[in-house]
Symmetry: C2
Subunit: 321 residues, 2 copies
């Protein structure tokens, strides 16, 4: 038993930046190249392990001209930012179950600058996700399984889903608190459950937290304490709705000397301050309310677009129903 474990570090703990991917949900993935490049450079300088560039969304479902490049992560767009990525930063893209033409749009690894495919799935899509995981693995990628909205999954279904996912070639299974509804004690239970399901297989547990109740950073720490070794964060907490675990807080906590927080503050100063004038995210009251009620943030996002944005009591009463 360590006296003060937070003074030390686990070398195997790796950080994934999902600023562009999760942040893209705020602006239909229309970040300009300068910002994407700045996040990329910051990740490299800060010693971040992975950067998620966006989605591999289906062009049949999502019109190419209605969304920015980071909805699709075409190879040309990626390489315009990262070239051949001559760094140790690994690049990831997220592939949503049933919203990705993975067989055609995810290229063989040898033809892509991407290193990792993160397969995002709801619990009712597990068989599709399994197929996607195998497809990406067979193409040569590191693959993760991100089981979304875990706060509304019934326990037998979760146990069943984990039983299936641990048998796939996914090397990480991520605890995803999509609604920002979970308290630390629940995170502890989930991380332990995922670890138990994994057993002695060579897989890691990840954590992806949302900040509705200002718990994204705390829950990320909680997951780390209980053994999560793959950790998501975003610059300035940028992300859908209440946003994510802020990178500047996470790197302040992590003690591995390979991490450097200073470039993150530089990015906040040079880019995030301006972005906050154009895009709104963070634990605003409507997001707190949906988090407390364990609901999807879409109603909060909707009301924030109207002149009812400060009518908290009305919104609270609606969410109660």
């Amino acid at each position: 038993m360590q006296k003060a474990p937070w003074v030390t570090y686990r070398p195997e703990l790796k950080v994934l930046d999902c600023t562009i991917r999760d942040g893209g949900l705020c602006n239909d993935h229309a970040f300009d190249d300068g910002f994407v490049k700045a996040v990329y450079d910051t990740c490299v300088q800060a010693g971040v392990d992975y950067m998620e560039m966006g989605y591999k969304a289906s062009k049949r479902i999502f019109a190419r001209d209605r969304f920015g490049a980071w909805k699709f992560c075409d190879e040309d767009d990626l390489r315009r930012i990262v070239g051949d990525n001559p760094t140790s930063l690994k690049l990831a893209a997220m592939a949503d179950a049933e919203k990705t033409d993975y067989k055609t749009d995810i290229l063989p690894k040898k033809d892509s600058v991407l290193d990792v495919i993160r397969v995002a799935t709801y619990v009712h899509q597990i068989p599709t996700a399994v197929d996607m995981i195998k497809d990406a693995y067979d193409k040569g990628y590191e693959v993760t399984a991100n089981l979304m909205s875990v706060s509304v999954i019934q326990e037998p279904e979760l146990d069943q889903a984990l039983e299936v996912l641990v048998e796939t070639p996914a090397s990480t299974i991520v605890v995803v608190d999509s609604f920002g509804a979970l308290y630390g004690e629940q995170i502890e239970i989930l991380v332990k459950k995922y670890r138990a399901a994994i057993g002695d297989r060579p897989k890691e547990v990840g954590i992806h937290a949302h900040n509705n109740q200002q718990l994204a950073f705390a829950n990320t720490i909680e997951a780390i304490i209980h053994g999560a070794n793959r950790v998501d964060a975003t610059m300035g907490g940028l992300g859908r709705g209440a946003g994510n675990c802020p990178m500047e807080l996470l790197l302040g906590f992590l003690r591995n000397p390979k991490f450097d927080i200073r470039p993150v503050y530089e990015l906040l100063q040079n880019h995030i301050v301006d972005l906050q004038k154009k895009i709104e995210w963070g634990p605003l009251v409507p997001y707190i309310i949906t988090g407390q009620f364990n609901q999807h943030p879409r109603a909060a996002m909707a009301i924030l677009e109207t002149d009812r944005r400060h009518r908290y009591v009305e919104f609270y009463d609606e969410c109660c129903e």
Copy 2:
């Protein structure tokens, strides 16, 4: 061992609102009567147990005309808001060691609408604090001991201070993270230490968290898990610098049916939204940085008043030195 302790509640857990007291540090305690009355009414309606109205500051040290009424909490000012306080809400005032003419300014309980005196002390002021605690107790008040800036107290001094404080008539000893520097694991250690020092004496441990690292709510939960039964929060998190544990988050977590979160959302909507246009608080980047370095927020408050407010890297480098 409970399966899901957060679904239940401890009847003995009591909530203290310190919106006006800690928030007063943002505006020299110059809240208008309407706001103070609104907070008071909200506390009553929300089932909050205590409301801290302000300080009992020395008029020799602080000019009466340079500060608002809530720096001094004169009886007339208090009664202008609360009358004879015909409610179950208990009223508190904070008395800072060496900054309070407590012998004269703290009236006998029978002549005051106040119920509680919270004695705030740095570790080097313990003998003065002990005298103040005895004075207030002898005058008929419930008394708490708030040992400030615990994140910079050396362990032998802390142990010594606790050994002295547990022998006083203070009924609560509060873990005070003035700099918002502590992680959950540190809160756990401190709450356990305070409880161990108290032993079987009829005293409670309290928690007063600051939000520099977005951990005020999480650390408050952590303290509750480990037995803290006196819990500070403020409406909208209003408080010096990064602010405090937000009441709207805390009441969303507490399951005692006596608490009602709806009036809090009403106050946020009707008062806090406007106040945010006049006063700035919350986990802004300079406050994150002082929290990470376990420093007083005063340098962050100073830079936020200048046109260097977004020059995060410069500020980070200064705090490093």
